[in-house]
Amino acid sequence: MNWHYILTIYLKELKDSLRDRRTLISMLLIPTLLMPLIMLGSITIMTRVIKQAQEEATTLIVLGGQDSPAVMSALKAEKKFQLVDAGTNYKQAISEKRVRVAVEIPAGFEASLKGGASQTVMIYHYEGEMKSGMGAGEVEKFFRNLRDKTVETRLTDRGLTADLIKPFEVKRQNVAPPEKVGGNIFGGIVPYFIILLCFTGAMYPAIDLTAGEKERGTMETLLCSPVHRVNIVLGKFLMVMTASVATIVVSLLSSSASLLIGGSMMAGRGGGAAKAAASMGQIPTIDPAGILGVFIMVTPVAMLFAAVLLTISLFAKSYKEAQSYVSPLIVVVVMPAMMGMLPGIELSAKTALVPIMNLSLVCKEMLSGVWHWNYIALIFGSTCVYAAIALGLAVKMFNREDVIFRA
């Protein structure tokens, strides 16, 4: 191993890659432009849709209620509801999303309020459909208020106060600081994105520096030089890692910038997020130490990806062949990253040894401000060992004539 040669090769590969449009697109352009676009775009659309759905009157079919005129007129007077004619089939109307909710008022309902037997008001909604769910909530609220008022009337009729049935109040108060709330909200999704970007950022240069060189005929030229092959592998490996880390840094910067801009945009508009923030006291943020921790922990994973990608794409004869080997690997990478997001899977001595998933798990903890130093050391160490093994494999592949001269 000779650092002078490794550096020479690394600097040349860096210069070469920076002149390559395809590398620049995957390393810089996609993370800087695409990430903010996706984030801002989805946030804007989501808040707009939710706001719209909240403001829009709930279309409602009332079944029965002919003998309850007071209830009916109260429903009609309520601005939140837009009463629709029953038509032929209320179930179909809800299923086809022409109407959000239907409510069935039993016969003699109003009469029963004045001291009759307890009756049931049925609300028909479409499970899983957001607008229908919100509508059902509004209708339920309307009838709950009516019930409370009825109780109150009955109590005052008997000369009693409302406190009789409400001996105490129950309230919730959040004690988690805003960065912890943010960590819990983003803790699952941030590591997932980072792992994905770490892999895709390394993918293109790894192929270009191995199969691409073979295809263009420069690999043999390079192998003619007196430099030992270990140095060649390490120089190329450093370049792939640089691309991977650069992709993450650029994406982190651009997505946090877009989150900040997006957050202030929504706060300015007074939308749902601002209201939510007001109810929580502050806008949820992420602990910077957590971000730094994620960044440190992702480094050995970037090493592992770089080494594995170099090994696999070196085997390919051409750029296209390498792409077809490497693309399916995204699924292999994403699966453990997603499993780390599942609520049931927690950090343990066993899960800390599963590559990628362990990163996902520990990042979730770090972002919500929990630092398990033993696991952090175990995960960092084990991933370094995996990366070293993969790098050893890459060197071995480089020394195999049948791989280098595969045609």
């Binding site: 090769i9 263009r216 001269f405």
Partner: protein, 253 residues
């Protein structure tokens, strides 16, 4: 100097099974001489030259290049060899200057020495005009000149040429032949593989005829002519490999 003794290279091929690309090849190339390796396509020329350049390891046999063993000291061998083949391309996104400088550095040369040497090579090869342009925009002639400068930047004692004129126009091919001759005149050990008979006649001091991985005949041009009783090089070659039937059989494989 190159001393090859009983060089044998076998490898596995999916379709053909075990293939012997070079079988018991022995020869010696002297400094200040051009050794021509003549053979049909697939005769084992490229394999033999890759063994000399340490790109491949021999299955058996030994080879000493510029005083170093190719198996035990491959890095030292490569430091003394300039290898030019149709398959050694240039980095398209680098300029000629960057490409040559890169290989100078990989040969452990200091930057000021590289600069001086590059200037001398560019003068000699008339490269100044395109030295700072990217290689992917070059004509074949410019590419060949850059490749030559790349192989010569560290002034190696041994030059290995693997069909360097393959696919080139007449002008460029002639320039290459002229350049190979100059290498010999400077006292370098030169080995040159080709399947073009006229190039062998013009260039080579000693000729080795290779067929199906074996060196079937070796000698100077007059020696070979006398031995096979033919004056035309093509006839000499066909006789040496055992007639037209053998040639047809070899090309079929």
């Amino acid at each position: 100097m190159i001393i090859a003794r009983h060089l044998t290279k076998t490898f596995k091929d999916k379709k053909r099974g075990m293939v012997t690309a070079a079988a018991d090849v022995s020869f010696t190339c002297q400094p200040g001489q051009i050794y021509g390796l003549l053979g049909a396509n697939g005769a084992g020329k490229t394999t033999t030259l890759r063994l000399l350049a340490t790109l491949l390891k021999p299955t058996s046999g030994t080879c000493t290049v510029a005083g170093h063993d190719t198996v035990s000291a491959p890095e030292k061998v490569r430091a003394n060899v300039g290898f030019l083949a149709a398959s050694t391309a240039l980095y398209g996104r680098l300029t000629a200057r960057e490409m040559i400088t890169y290989f100078g550095r990989l040969n452990g040369m200091a930057d000021d020495i590289i600069r001086a040497r590059l200037k001398a090579l560019a003068d000699e090869l008339d490269m100044h005009e395109f030295l700072d342009r990217r290689c992917d925009k070059f004509s074949t002639g410019m590419k060949q000149k850059t490749s030559i400068a790349r192989t010569l930047i560290h002034d190696p004692a041994v030059m290995i040429f693997d069909e360097p004129t393959l696919g080139l126009d007449v002008m460029t091919a002639r320039a290459i032949v002229k350049f190979v001759r100059e290498c010999r005149n400077r006292g370098k050990t030169v080995i040159y593989s080709t399947h073009v008979m006229s190039e062998v006649e013009k260039l080579c001091d000693t000729i080795g005829i290779i067929h199906a991985g074996r060196l079937v005949a070796e000698g100077t041009l007059p020696e070979l002519r006398t031995r096979f009783g033919e004056t035309d090089m093509e006839e000499v070659f066909v006789k040496a490999i055992g007639g037209e039937a053998a040639l047809a059989e070899a090309l079929k494989n």
